[in-house]
């Protein structure tokens, strides 16, 4: 951009000239017109000028410092028993899947049944998993889950003690959805399906629609 165009764009942004004076008529500047107008609108909005309270930083740091401790304090004796029971069931499920894989060799199959959560009460799914040279091949049959809303998609995960690993996305519940996992099922024994927004954020939204975990 030459000096003249840079100066003209600055003057237009400052509101000192109108689009017809140069910006709209210039091949280099015209593509910038929409962006300059959007910027002028934002500069006139107090949202971009307001300052947060001086103590917001300390409130955030206090909140972060409290967060882990709050989760620990929230566990009552009953919750510990439930957590222990879920852990044992998870171990048994992982063992069963592991045995199914081991006894069948490199191309062994395993099956998972996924049940609905409150977010998608009519949905259900089954997964057939097969060890392949490239990883774990998963064929998912999904029923009762319509097309994802505009701007959203479904994502499948394998979850275990080390965290959650994404294994593929799809947009409609149907049969023969093929997914792939680079991690073993015995280390990530739980499969879930979540609803995700198209915002580029790789982290799970937390909106779980289907899960193979024990009820």
């Amino acid at each position: 951009m030459d000096a003249t165009c840079a100066d003209e764009q600055a003057r237009y942004l400052a509101g000192e000239t109108s689009a017809g004076d140069h910006i709209a008529e210039c091949d280099r500047c015209a593509p910038e017109l929409a962006g300059l107008d959007a910027t002028r609108a934002v500069l006139a909005d107090d949202a971009v000028w307001l300052e947060p309270s001086a103590d917001l930083e300390s409130r955030i740091m206090t909140s972060i410092g409290r967060a882990p401790a709050r989760r620990r304090r929230a566990f009552s004796a009953n919750r510990w028993l439930l957590a222990a029971a879920a852990f044992v069931l998870g171990i048994l499920a992982a063992f069963a899947v592991q045995q199914a894989f081991r006894s069948g060799g490199p191309s062994a199959q395993a099956h998972l049944a996924l049940h609905a959560t409150a977010l998608a009460p009519a949905a259900k799914a089954t997964a057939e998993l097969r060890n392949m040279p490239g990883g774990l091949r998963i064929e998912l049959d999904v029923h009762g889950l319509g097309h994802a809303p505009p701007g959203y998609f479904y994502q499948a995960w394998l979850k275990g003690p080390r965290g959650a690993v994404p294994i593929g996305t799809f947009h409609t519940g149907t049969q023969d959805i093929v997914l792939w996992s680079g991690v073993p099922l015995d280390a990530y024994p739980t499969m879930t399906v979540t609803l995700e927004p198209e915002d580029g954020n790789p982290a799970s939204s937390g909106k779980v629609l289907l899960t193979s975990a024990a009820h």
Binding site: A14, D45, A47, V48, W49, A118, P149, L195, K207, V208
Partner: protein, 181 residues
């Protein structure tokens, strides 16, 4: 260190579990996050709650932050979601009915909010004297003469500051859009 490298460095520190990274992240981008939250909520008090929720959520999911990627787009997304969550008042994210998931606005609002983020970022990089002139021109709608009187400086000084500030803004906004695209 350029802005993108700084963003990646903060992501790396966050992923490593460095709690001081949260403080540095707030000092670098807290005002930008606040601007986005105010744009959504139109209430500074609620906007502060949204920002607090966003940084807390980011810390809780620090283990899944990609240490190789600039943290800014992720922070923008999280604060936007937290602001919208507060805007729906009382609807907890984990129980949002499937049919209502599309109520979270996309595209047009996203562009507007991202412009708010980048403009606030650019404003923060202006010298204070230039920033004040820009604010008085655009937010307060003052003329150069009004601003000169308020600041007790010559009109020519105001014009110079305004021209330099707007030229700097054009340049900053162009490079910021390229960096994070």
């Amino acid at each position: 260190m350029d802005a993108e490298s700084a963003g990646r460095e903060l992501a790396r520190r966050l992923a490593d579990g460095d709690v001081d990274a949260v403080r540095d992240l707030y000092r670098a981008y807290g005002r930008l996050a606040f601007a986005v939250a105010v744009k959504v909520l139109r209430d500074p008090g609620l906007a502060e709650d949204a920002v607090q929720n966003a940084f807390t959520k980011l810390w809780r999911s620090a283990g899944s932050v990609d240490p190789e990627r600039d943290i800014r787009p992720l922070l923008f997304t999280i604060v936007r979601r937290c602001a919208y969550d507060l805007a729906t008042r009382g609807r907890r994210e984990t129980v949002v009915p499937l049919a209502s998931a599309a109520d979270y606005p996309v595209s047009d609002d996203l562009d507007q909010l991202w412009t708010t983020w980048t403009v606030r970022d650019a404003i923060e990089r202006l010298p204070v004297a230039e920033r004040d002139v820009v604010r008085m021109q655009h937010l307060d709608g003052l003329t150069h003469a009004d601003i000169a009187q308020r600041l007790d400086v010559a009109v020519g000084t105001v014009k110079s500051r305004s021209f330099r500030a707007h030229k700097r803004l054009c340049s900053l906004l162009s490079s910021l859009r390229e960096e994070v695209s």
